[in-house]
Symmetry: C2
Subunit: 406 residues, 2 copies
């Protein structure tokens, strides 16, 4: 059950990107489980990957290839994460990259591989290889919507969006898709997201725009605190509109792109939370008045990760004691609890370290009925603020995660 | 449903400790909700308290009183935690201490207050005060079992134990009781534990024995990662056996007491986990081969806190991918995943960063059927090890925490 997730809009094509979505039979038959992106030769690609030490084989290979050459192909399979597969997993991953590179007449390093699905099972690499000719023949400009569906595993809805924006009389387009967050779908794991624009951008500037946007989007969502082995987010600038790449971060083009990338990635990240396992509520934890960003995030995550807070939201119970207890254990040095205030939407529930004298349980219960709620926490010690997005913790979360492999 | 929790044994009295358990009607009628400990004048008391910044009024008052004078009374109520109650909470707490001190003819600082129960409601201090004369009249040597029941809130079984040990021909006794762990019972919150011995021990040595034992017991258990506002553990040495306090940490008496306190506190801590909300399995996460204690604990807590690992245990699913992913996100610097090995009891499931080649799912499923399981993780990078104790994550956890206040 997704919270406030709209049907996928018609995604705008990006000049310089062609896409094919085909059946490889990785895990299931009659399922289009292989997505191929072809990028124009002028393309520049930036990427961020999971920080998990047990990262999957394709993450190792993609990181290495990205260091060596400019990518021309993104090869994405569902049904198998090729994670926890050791040295053998690397061999299988390289086999698919090699096969594609040979067919395309390009070096192996121009292929970036991505896998999502079951952890710890051998990747049926040959099935992927066998499907590559059909994929190469099927490349077309208009397959973003198909790709958004093609990268899904147990997401209940496809996730994507487009932006058009004008700079100095020139119109640019940005389109992106994403699938399941973090370890939100444990074995069918992994958040993947792919974005492309037709602007021409220098590689280090593009990487910096992506990294910055990741901080305020995919790095600010949590379902259950677990980080997956396969997370990756890729941003491509095809350079289809103009040949000379933008290098100046303060230029109007760079600023406009940065704003649009942040906006689209935040929307995609929130879509992932809205489609969280068993989610019935979409919760924004907004911490302000912090002494620095780190302590704002520590408090926001302590609240967003607390199973007690999350089950209270599921029960629509304005249980502010659990929120205070989570704030109190977040490790903020020398926190003066008498300066802490907490609101549910616009209703102040805590003041001077205790219940607001005007607060009545009935008022809190009324706010908690909504499917989208902001917990606002003022630490009263500085000018920093930050936001983390999460969902509630329901019977269905346990059901989905306990039943998943049975 | 408690996992492997035995009925409370007959707890041995401690010379120098008298106990009364009476009805004060704090929250419910016909419930013995007030426990009073009287300590002999020769007693020395050590204590550890919650690190939560939003700690309850009685924690503030008890910390202060302990700094000023040697305690003669421990006053414990259930039904109300007097937490999140601001300045008013302090006034109510002091009122109960004052009243007891007057009746007993002792200074206010000799009373240590403890509260457990609903957060954020006004403590009905007068009801406690009204019950004090009856409590003082009812003090007796043999009420430890009644006290173990008296401090319960939503624990399903009382928790306690006794040890007798001989040093240099002298027999000593140690008895302790405990109730619900951390935020395990969110609103009826708080772990409380009270231990006493008839040995005479210097205060700073006693505090050091308690602090050390806390590290390997109450600080190594987790139900849901939430820390309560009222946690406290008290260790009393009444000095009933001999007058001269032991001051030398390397003495035979101090060593013997330290071993016994650690053993009893670990047993009490494990009892709390066994009685965890909705628990169907008792899980030991044993991390060895670490470079230091901190990284062993980081890995053990990452595994023990992971909702995905905990739901897999509930489902008896040997889902080793979730364990690897939790290890990988624990933040161990430069972890070489190829050296990591993981066992379920004696069954090795992971080796060289992937599934053990000899591992078969059916073997894992067999181990997972047991109600007590040890996850053993060898990081392969040093000689340090540590253990954390936890339980699984069931439908009942969500049910208990979502339904609790409705």
């Amino acid at each position: 059950m997704a919270v406030g997730l709209e049907p996928l809009p018609a995604l705008k094509p990006i000049a310089g990107v062609r896409i094919a979505v085909v059946e490889a039979g990785v895990r299931y038959k009659n399922r289009r489980d292989l997505v191929l992106f072809e990028l124009a030769a002028s393309s520049v690609t930036a990427a961020v990957f999971t920080q998990n030490a047990f990262c999957a084989a394709p993450v190792h290979v993609a990181r290495h290839h990205l260091d060596v050459a400019a990518p021309r192909y993104l090869l994405i399979n569902t049904g198998n994460a090729n994670a926890g597969t050791g040295q053998e997993g690397l061999v299988h991953c390289r086999h698919t990259c090699n096969a594609l590179a040979k067919l395309a007449g390009e070096p192996e390093w121009t292929v970036l591989p991505f896998s999502t699905g079951v952890i710890g099972e051998t990747l049926p690499a040959q099935r992927i290889v066998d499907a590559l000719p059909q994929a190469l023949q099927g490349l077309k400009d208009t397959a973003w919507n198909e790709a958004a569906i093609g990268i899904m595993t147990t997401d209940t809805l496809p996730k994507g969006g487009s932006r058009q924006f004008e700079v100095a009389g020139q119109m640019y387009t940005l389109t992106g898709i994403a699938k399941g967050a973090g370890m939100i779908r444990p074995n069918m794991a992994t958040m993947l997201s792919f974005l492309a624009t037709d602007m021409a951008v220098d590689k280090s500037l593009l990487q910096s725009i992506l990294s910055q946007a990741t901080q305020s989007s995919f790095n600010r969502i949590t379902i259950d605190g677990d980080t997956s082995t396969n997370d990756a987010c890729v941003l491509v600038a095809t350079g289809a509109i103009h040949a000379t790449p933008i290098t100046d971060a303060s230029s109007e083009e760079a600023q406009a792109l940065s704003v649009q990338v942040q906006s689209l990635m935040l929307e995609l990240a929130q879509m992932i939370v809205r489609d969280g396992e068993g989610a019935t509520k979409f919760i924004t934890v907004h911490v302000l008045g912090g002494g620095n960003t780190e302590e704002c995030c520590d408090v926001a995550y302590a609240v967003a990760h607390s199973p007690l807070v999350k089950t209270a939201f599921f029960a629509s119970d304005p249980n502010w004691g659990r929120i205070l207890a989570a704030i109190g254990r977040a490790g903020v040095p020398a926190l003066d609890v008498n300066k802490v205030q907490v609101w549910l939407n616009d209703l102040r529930i805590c003041w001077l370290g205790a219940a607001d004298p005007e607060y009545r349980e009935a008022l809190g219960a009324e706010v908690m009925k909504a499917s989208e709620i902001t917990v606002r926490i003022d630490l009263g010690r500085g000018a920093f603020e930050d936001r983390v997005y999460t969902c509630d913790f329901s019977y269905d979360y346990v059901k989905i995660n306990a039943d998943y492999r049975s």
